[in-house]
């Protein structure tokens, strides 16, 4: 099985001949094909559906992981927990942010912004 990293919302080409599977692939909600540029995957639901098809060709697409706090790309290969992680997520925490002493409050504030919820007084 070959693994390939992709980024959501950015074009990439699949290093296999899809043949009859092309129709199935472009039918997936959240997967687009732009002629001359390649495929675009919008979200991780679309990606898991796409992987079900590509697995027949021996290819698995894995998303590049971003840090939830700073938004930087995280390199799983350099992570000290790489052997104890399933590596199927698109959001993680980079080492710099994890080592921040105030990580908990930063995480909660970031999450509050991300979800668009109002913080209660006890959570502040």
């Amino acid at each position: 099985m070959q693994y390939m990293k992709i980024r959501y919302g950015e074009t990439f080409s699949i290093p296999r001949r899809l043949g009859n599977l092309f129709r199935e692939v472009v039918r997936i909600k959240g997967v687009e094909y732009i002629k001359g540029k390649g495929f675009i995957v919008r979200d991780y639901y679309a990606l898991s559906n796409l992987n079900k098809i590509l697995a027949r060709l021996g290819l698995i697409l894995t998303p590049e992981v971003r840090c939830f706090i700073c938004g930087k790309y995280v390199d799983c290969e350099k992570c000290e927990f790489r052997n104890n992680c399933k590596r199927d997520v698109t959001i993680c925490i980079c080492d710099d942010c994890l080592n921040n002493k105030n990580i908990l409050n930063i995480y909660l504030a970031k999450q509050n912004k991300f979800l668009g919820l109002k913080l209660s007084s006890s959570q502040k």
Partner: protein, 394 residues
């Protein structure tokens, strides 16, 4: 108090990990409230211990809903589900009448993959129908739903996948608990727990609580849940505490049948057990077997809570009497694999040939003709024996 309960998040903001899934959940509820959602309900899919149930309760808390939780182990049939929700409607009408307040409710079907579309008379259809009416938001959670069996649910509900937490998320979660509890735990221990928890937040918190009591992480690192049968049997056999056995039994309910059969083998073959003890244990075992069979047949899984005590009691007594699991595979498991397959193939071949001989399809022959033949043979068995003796000489 158990820390998993004490530190259970009350708001989605407090839940660590699965950020995208939580966002989907919030978006769906907002759209549902505005009547814009294409999906009448939402299905949360993911392994145990990663916060599906907590997320639903937290969501309800954030949006001022009251959660009405129906567990598939108790409410499986359409009749029971409607009964529960019918009385709920009445009680809320009364409350509104007396207090003047209207409480909004979210209906939450937990472990919905436990409902069998065929065996549990209309249970799944009832869930879909309730969601379709859009009287209240319907959320369902499942560990391992079958896309074929639960096809309707997958088509009509918005599916949101919850994933195992990364070790880094678990570190943040544990740091929060350490801070709240005012503990002084070495960061290396927290890292070790995060590595060993395998994405299971519940397990990580339990390990942290044990570590805070001075128990080494290495000894508590293995989860009680989903153990392989052999490992479960070994642990059960070596346990001397009833509480420990009960915990193991509760955490591995999918293996009860195998445990019962293996314990039959252990008890029946044990050279150490005295004759009276054997009788007593086998008697208890036969009762458990009958109750389990009855429960499966009636699909009344509510009674599992009583049965787990009976099984734990049996194992506790067997261990005390000296029965030991020696790692031997009981015959029934071999039969299950080999004999059943052979028998099935033989039966298919035979019923096809017999059906053809009387110009019937195999299905019709198996369903209608064969049972009638069997009844006739049973009634006139003595005559049949005489005929066989006369014709074949045996």
């Amino acid at each position: 108090m158990v820390w998993t309960e004490k530190h259970r998040p009350r708001s989605l903001n407090e839940i660590i990990g699965n950020e995208e899934a939580k966002l989907e959940l919030v978006r769906w509820l907002r759209n549902w409230e505005e009547g814009k959602s294409d999906f009448p309900g939402i299905l949360l899919v993911g392994p145990p211990g990663i916060g599906k149930t907590t997320a639903v309760h937290a969501l309800a808390n954030d949006f001022s809903y009251h959660v009405v939780e129906l567990n598939a182990s108790e409410y499986r049939t359409a009749e029971k589900i409607y009964e529960k929700l019918g009385s709920l409607g009445r009680s809320y009408t009364l409350e509104r009448y007396f207090t003047g307040r209207e409480r909004r409710i979210i209906v939450f079907f937990d472990e919905i993959d436990g409902i069998d579309p065929k065996e549990d008379r209309g249970g799944l259809d009832a869930v879909i129908e309730i969601a379709g009416k859009r009287d209240f938001p319907v959320v369902a959670a499942a560990n391992v739903p079958d896309p074929q069996k639960h096809k309707k649910l997958f088509e009509l509900f918005k599916v949101v996948e919850f994933r195992q937490l990364t070790p880094k998320h678990i570190i943040i979660l544990l740091k929060r608990i350490v801070e709240r509890e005012g503990l002084k735990i070495d960061y290396e221990i927290i890292k070790k727990i995060a590595e060993r928890a395998r994405g299971d937040a519940r397990l990580a918190i339990n390990m942290l609580q044990a570590a805070s009591l001075g128990i080494p992480v290495e000894s508590i690192s293995q989860s009680l849940e989903n153990l392989p049968l052999d490992e479960l049997l070994r642990r059960l056999s070596s346990s001397i505490s009833y509480y420990e056995i009960k915990q193991l039994i509760d955490a591995n309910s999918s293996l009860w049948e195998d445990v019962i059969y293996t314990y039959f083998d252990i008890i029946a073959r044990s050279p150490v057990l005295k004759f009276d003890a054997k009788i007593q244990l086998l008697d208890a075992l036969s009762k458990i077997d009958i109750y389990l069979g009855r429960m499966n047949k009636e699909r009344q899984f509510f009674y599992l809570r009583y049965l787990s005590h009976l099984i734990a009691w049996l194992i506790y007594n067997a261990n005390r009497s000296g029965a030991v699991y020696d790692g031997r595979i009981p015959e029934y498991r071999l039969y299950k694999f080999v004999f059943n397959r052979d028998a099935r193939e033989e039966f298919t071949e035979l019923s096809e040939a017999l059906g053809r001989s009387i110009h019937e399809s195999r299905r019709k022959f198996t369903l209608y003709t064969l049972p009638t033949f069997c009844k006739l043979v049973k009634r006139k068995y003595s005559k049949l024996c005489e005929w066989v003796k006369k014709v074949y000489g045996w």
